[in-house]
């Protein structure tokens, strides 16, 4: 007998998309692909998944597009209230705690998003975090990734990342890792939107990729 093992679709794979963030020397780079689709059909090639929280913190949201938008709006409200109450910008760690808490509150009817957070503090120390849809965080020192090509991303990041990279070098590494992973994934791609964040500024670049 022939047995076929078929993987059924997860709701997180309806729209496609991928995010990755890597830590460098006094900087971090966060990137996402630009595709929005409905399974095999591509709707738009101009939909990055990155949200700039403040000068020092950027969050990427992968997963179901409608939840990406709603969850981002929800967080925007929380972040603005935080800024008004605290009279200061929210730090990466506080945002991670907030996001994890908000995700877990919906434990039995979760938000179908998997966030990636990158932040840098005033001393230039980088903090990265990736979470699953229930808010379980992991805070590695090197890179974080999420999305439909997460496995490929892990492979690329493990190979390409090394410590102590400056902004420009790190940009190349992140862009190549993301583009190559998306090439192996039909649900992600159409180039990458990459943000390079240092203590001084945030630089956004659009990287052209295969348009399939």
């Amino acid at each position: 007998f022939l047995y076929f093992i078929v993987k059924s679709m997860s709701i997180l794979e309806l729209n496609g998309g991928a995010c990755v963030a890597m830590a460098g020397e006094g900087c971090f780079v966060i990137a996402s692909d630009n595709r929005l689709g409905e399974q095999f059909k591509t709707i738009s090639m101009e939909v990055p998944k990155l949200n700039v929280v403040n000068d020092k913190v950027v969050m990427g949201l992968t997963g179901l597009r409608t939840d990406q938008q709603t969850f981002a709006n929800l967080l925007e409200y929380e972040i603005k209230m935080y800024k008004l109450r605290e009279q200061r910008d929210i730090s990466g760690k506080a945002l991670t705690a907030l996001v994890a808490h908000t995700l877990y509150q919906a434990r039995f009817g979760p938000w179908f998003v998997e966030p990636v957070i990158g932040s840098i503090d005033d001393e230039g120390k980088v903090y990265l975090c990736a979470m699953d849809l229930l808010g379980a965080p992991c805070e590695p020192e090197d890179y974080v990734c999420a999305g439909t090509c997460a496995e490929a991303l892990h492979g690329m990041c493990e190979s390409l990342w090394r410590p102590g990279l400056g902004p420009e070098e790190l940009f190349e590494v992140v862009a190549q890792a993301l583009l190559s992973s998306c090439d192996r994934d039909c649900l992600s791609g159409y180039g990458a939107t990459v943000m390079i964040v240092t203590r001084e500024k945030v630089t956004t670049r659009l990287v052209k990729g295969r348009k399939d």
Binding site: R85, E86, Q87, S91, K93, A94, T96, A97, L98, H101
Partner: protein, 231 residues
């Protein structure tokens, strides 16, 4: 009887219940707060009404969170209620943000609760003035919360019986770059000024918080050392 507020304006535009509450608070035992360059001190008289009271069984200076402490002048049970609400707020914040709450935030929320009790139906205002001392990411802070719900940040202040004299005493001695060790001495001197009887390490309490962000009360032995130093 919870439909209408018991605190209403008089014909002269005053909220008498709040004024009476302030009066109740000002009859309490004197408490002093002093913000130094690198920390904050709180000190309070502790003279139980009756010599049979076991003074070791209770402390007037309490922690709200690891990095914030408070003391009161006025009705102790009212302080307990505020303390519990403030503690809960600090922990809810910690749960949500995994960071210690800012003192300004904590005091604002506590003051908000105090204000609600001056306007809600069927309740009376709190009969305590509270001094909170904390050290957060923003440095050392000293706040006072009034029965009216107003809150102020102070460099140095006093609440309770001897407010007026203590504050003029502090005004003369306060310096912006005071070190915590000197601040403790100044605070003890101020407390001594209006103290009825002899001030010893047994009938006062002292609490400090430094840049280590841990609010602690001094032991009797430590207070005795400070008192001996100044003598």
């Amino acid at each position: 009887m919870t439909d209408f507020s018991l605190t209403t304006f008089s014909s002269k535009g005053k909220l008498l219940q709040i004024e009476y509450a302030l009066l109740a608070a000002s009859k309490g035992e004197t408490a002093i707060g002093l913000k130094a360059r690198n920390g904050v001190v709180l000190a309070v008289e502790k003279q139980p009404p009756n010599p049979l009271v076991d003074e070791t069984s209770y402390t007037k200076i309490q922690n709200i969170a690891g990095h914030v402490g408070a003391v009161y002048a006025g009705l102790a049970p009212d302080f307990r209620v505020l303390l519990q609400k403030a503690r809960k707020h600090a922990q809810v914040y910690q749960l949500r943000y995994r960071e210690p709450v800012l003192c300004s935030n904590l005091c604002r929320e506590t003051a908000q609760i105090v204000q609600e009790f001056t306007q809600s139906g069927g309740v009376r205002p709190f009969g305590v003035s509270v001094l909170t001392a904390g050290y957060d990411d923003d440095g050392p802070h000293l706040y006072q919360i009034d029965p009216s719900g107003a809150y102020y940040e102070w460099k140095a202040t006093a609440i309770g019986r001897n407010t007026k004299n203590a504050k003029s005493f502090l005004e003369k001695r306060y310096k912006a770059d005071l070190e915590l060790e000197d601040a403790i001495q100044t605070t003890l001197l101020t407390l001594k000024e209006g103290f009825e009887g002899t001030m010893t390490a047994k009938n006062i309490e002292v609490g400090i918080v430094k840049s280590d962000m841990v609010f602690r009360t001094l032991t009797e032995a430590q207070i005795k050392d400070y008192l001996d130093e100044s003598a």
